[in-house]
Amino acid sequence: MRIPDLNSLYDAGSRLLLESTVRVGVTGLRRAGKTVFVTALVDNLLKAGRLPFLDVMSSGRFQAARLRPQPDPDVPRFDFEGHLAVLTGPDPHWPEPTRGIGQMRVSLRYRPDSALKRAVQPVATLNLDLVDYPGEWLLDLPLLRQSFAEWSALTLELAARPPRDELSASWRGWLATIDPMASAEEETARRGAALYTDYLHACRRADTLLSLIQPGRFVEPGDMKDAPLLTFCPLPPPQFAGSRGRGSLWALMEERYEAYKTNVVRRFFSEHFAKLDRQIVLIDVLGALNAGPAGMADMKRALELSLEPFRHGSSGWLDWLLGTKIDRVLFAATKADHIAAHQHAQLRALLDRLVGDARNAIRFEGAQVETMAIAALKCTDSVVTEHEGRQLRCVRGVPVGRDRPTVLFPGEIPEDAEAFPPGRDRPYNFLAFRPPDDLGRDPRGLPHIRVDQALQFLLGDYLL
């Protein structure tokens, strides 16, 4: 850091001492809406027109927000402008699934509330760091706590149960023909890995929403395509304990598994997730409802597993020694604009039931937890229409794949505990909507549902 004169010394010093930074982790399984959430959040902060429930804005203390250079220059930058152009351009559609890491930083300037703080610093700055990544990589994190034997056993058990049993038939058939105690052949390992990768791709493409797809890099390699690290697969445990000797297939696979954990997963975790201050977990509850009870149970399991590695707890003065803890977690049910507005309470109740165990675990650690039904981009309006003599509350928007607005009755989420009444396998069919035209015309920012309340929960006590 070259410091040519006193001005830049002052700048560097003030940046170091007087600006606070908060790292918000946007967690979510694939297609939960992380990319759109980060885009909509940053756009609303930059334009500052649609955030009435953010205290710092409604009390008039907010000055402005700007994009700043990100803290880690070796990580690719989140393509905010590209995604915004895709959403607000002439042919609006949802962005492509994320293929790699993206990071960005937004600086917020505001006037502090308390007179003491104002005396020290008339204008305070808060740097908000956000990271976007493919949702599939999130499920790599539970591997950190599992040995190869444990993981193999769990995966094989899962693959033998419906609805995965038919998808994994060819891979399990091949597993039955090989012997883990035999000496390791590179060709065998590669064949196993290829069959297992095909099985994972089939899970991802399946009709029922299958969330638990491990390891994530097999289906979404990022920059590791065709790397030798990705050439392993779960193996059934060998019969004799002493036969896990050197040179066997089992030993080779185990070695590769451990190398994957060390070089890929641990690095991913320590670079991006170990230093988080706040966390928002985006959950596509409507997608889980569409998938039926099996899909919902799968997503619940995947969520609980993926939340375990995070360090939750209340932050204290020993944080600089022991590492920061995540002291506020927000569970957000996304795509709330796909249902009528009066159903948001039921959606939130359903979310509460879905994350109940995870929530208790996090509260036990000492962090604050909140649930909300949000929509990062509001694509529909609630309308009332008459049908067969009844008043129905519907949504009006442009469904994906069409070009004109339509009025749809999306279905009702029941109020009681039975989300899936017995007898019907897939009772829900919530359609997806695409972004409306001319979103970019409004200077106030992208329309949303409750993103401001989410921001208030996550950042409210930093912005005092």
Partner: protein, 322 residues
């Protein structure tokens, strides 16, 4: 299930017209002033009446004492003082009646407050637009609130549920009114403090405190656009009478207090200042009670007004007066 596009009426249109024009069936929530409901707390009323009579009697004794002293000095002075006391009495009664009449002209907002309370607590059911419409109807002719109402209209979407609409209205529309009302309370308590500190006679204290309290309540009520209900008015009246009683008593006991503290000039001044501060604080409490009662949406825990600033202001009154 797909339905026809053109037969759909947007839900926000209802809410938006409610917010724009103040319609949305306000008649249910804003009744015209009606006869008050008789409560049956007879014991309380007995106590109340007796205390009021005692205060009047104490005041009467003090005035009689003053008249006696004036007549003892000279007949002319006695007649003058008698005339002045009579004029003061009649003027006080006239002002009282005036304030009460102008209070009556404002609307009773008990239904509105009850509805706001219900909306905060119960599960949403689509009643926010009616409440919003009633609130807008209440403030429709206030030009200084027009930008705040426009901002609320801007921000409320069809996706906000009742709690959120009520919170937004509370924050955007009522917060500036709260600040203005608090300012009035501050001014009124300062006036009362100075007036009771400087006034020489109990009757004058009585009149000033009564008048200033009533004026304060009327100002706050007209600021919020509504007057407190019957039960609320009773509470307010009780506080005001306590204030007046304390003013009268401290004034009458002024000599006793000065004697007790040593009889010096410093004692006299400090008892006067103390009297002023006490009366100022009691007036402030009356003002805050009026704010609680006249506000369409009840105060939450975070925006409740507190006496701290007023207390600090009152403790610096002696400096300003001297």
């Amino acid at each position: 299930m797909e339905l026809e596009l053109d037969r759909a009426a947007a839900v926000p249109a209802e809410e938006e017209t409610a917010l724009l024009t103040g319609s949305g069936d306000p008649a249910e929530l804003l009744p015209a002033p009606a006869a008050p409901v008789r409560t049956t707390r007879r014991l309380g009323r007995w106590l109340f009446g007796a205390l009021a009579a005692l205060v009047v009697v104490a005041l009467g004794f003090d005035t009689a004492d003053l008249l006696n002293r004036a007549f003892a000095t000279s007949v002319a002075l006695g007649v003058l003082v008698a005339l002045l006391a009579a004029t003061a009495g009649i003027a006080a009664v006239a002002m009282l009646v005036n304030e009460l009449l102008s209070l009556r002209r404002l609307r009773r907002i008990e239904e509105l407050r009850a509805e706001a309370g219900r909306l905060e607590v119960e599960a949403p059911g689509g009643r926010a637009d009616r409440f919003a419409g009633s609130l807008v109807a209440l403030y429709a002719d206030r030009r200084e609130l027009a930008p705040a109402l426009a901002r609320v209209r801007d921000h409320v979407t069809d996706a906000h549920d009742e709690h959120e609409v009520v919170r937004l209205l509370d924050r955007e529309v009522l917060a500036p009114l709260d600040r203005a009302a608090y300012q009035r309370v501050l001014l009124a308590s300062r006036d009362t403090a100075v007036a009771t500190a400087l006034s020489p006679a109990a009757l004058l204290d009585f009149a000033v405190v009564l008048w200033r309290n009533l004026k304060l309540v009327r100002e706050i009520a007209s600021l919020y656009g509504a007057r407190p209900g019957y039960v609320g008015s009773l509470r307010l009246l009780r506080r005001m009478l306590a204030n007046i009683a304390v003013a009268g008593v401290t004034e009458s006991a002024h000599h006793v207090a000065v004697e007790a503290l040593g009889g010096s000039l410093a004692a006299a001044i400090s008892t006067r200042m103390g009297q002023g501060v006490i009366n100022g604080l009691l007036t402030a409490r009356v003002g805050l009670t009026a704010m609680h009662l006249c506000r369409p949406i009840a105060f939450g825990t975070d925006n409740r007004p507190s006496l701290n600033r007023i207390r600090k202001e009152l403790l610096s009154v002696p400096k300003q007066v001297l």
